[in-house]
Symmetry: C2
DNA sequence: GCATTATTTTAATCTTCATTAGAATTTTTT
DNA sequence: AAAAAATTCTAATGAAGATTAAAATAATGC
């Protein structure tokens, strides 16, 4: 076979998938560090001990590489969201758990993969897809906020803006967190509290 | 004179300064939109109705262009900080005013200029300079937080992390705000409250 | 061990873009 | 309105880096 990067993958095919995932992680790392245009395929390939040309065995082109990073990043959010919602509790509890899970995944072994700042570099089709993922995630988050307002655990006058504020804080983490594990556990502890409880003394 | 982009500028020299500022604003806009490597000098020049080569009259090279954007961005933070501190009040009051001023400036006519995500693109010297600006700003913010803890208006267990959380939220604004003025006033209203008071119902 | 398939490399090609030199044009000064 | 200074343009140059085709190597099934 000339190239694997086109068709759907069989569920059995693990070697290819694993390598590709390692590749996505390396790519996300570079993108976080130097931006989309700022990272060359060679940067990514170097991390993996490959040639830049070898990457084309796993992805169609550079643009698809970011796109797949986004999809993985969106998974982080979705997974955190699902777990948080599944465990029940009032709105505030859910928000706090969501924040905790999101941060845990992001600073943990699978991340930081949430670049989320290279949207304009995407192709039209992929951009739409990513924006849709992003919208539905925001909507889910806002739904939790609304639920919290109804059950009396959350108080805020603009759900949309609140979502923006909190998501921004999360999205920014990859800009200053670079893998220090002591720092990681501190983030996991502190972020959910700060973002949900604010600064005001009781 | 062959080029103005080297020496220090005389205080009288306004035309040059004005044009250069317009240029920095255009550049910041592009950088926010497409990142450092993602924007070509032609992108910036097009906004100003100039040729890419003309930019070199105002700036030594592309790298200096981002650097100057950063310096301007840092000014926004510094100005907001100074005004907030100057007006006195307890720590929480000061934080809230700082957030308000920062947001006001950023979504207002002078902004959004706070890219703050292209540090790795800078030259060694400029990077140091920018990081120093950033550090001193963070320090000032943390000082306010500490003051708030002492006067009892603020409660938080990790000042550094709190600063990261809040600054991230502010820094992220340029990623989703693109000049809608109705949105702008809403941001100014809501952000300070959300970031300082959190979500928990009273 | 052989044939087949999977993976990676080498060696171009091609485009984009920063940068520069010098010429051309506009603005200011006198 | 001529001279000087300031500003912008045209037309290279050169390098970086994405992409491709074909060859080379490694892995797997028989």
């Amino acid at each position: 076979m000339q190239s694997r990067n086109t068709g759907a993958e069989s569920p059995i095919d693990t070697r290819f998938q694993l390598k590709r995932n390692r590749m996505l992680k390396a790519a996300a790392h570079c993108f976080n560090l130097k931006g989309y245009s700022g990272t060359s395929l060679k940067d990514v390939a170097d991390i993996l001990g490959l040639t830049d040309a070898a990457l084309y065995y796993y992805v169609r082109n550079k643009e698809e590489l970011v796109y797949l990073c986004y999809v993985r990043a969106a998974d982080v959010g979705r997974e955190a969201m699902q777990r948080a919602v599944a465990e029940g509790g009032n709105g505030l509890d859910t928000v706090q758990r969501y924040l905790r899970y999101h941060v845990e995944i992001m600073v943990g072994d699978r991340g930081p993969i949430a670049i989320m700042s290279e949207i304009p570099s995407l192709s039209r089709g992929h951009r739409e897809a990513v924006l849709e993922l992003s919208r539905s995630h925001s909507a889910a988050f806002e739904a939790i906020l609304k639920r919290g307002m109804e059950d009396g655990s959350i108080e805020t006058s603009d759900v949309r803006m609140t979502g923006n504020a909190i998501m921004g804080s999360l999205n920014w983490i990859p800009k200053w967190f670079h893998g220090d594990s002591a720092m990681a556990s501190k983030i996991v502890e502190e972020f959910p509290r700060i973002l949900s409880s604010g600064l005001r003394a009781a």
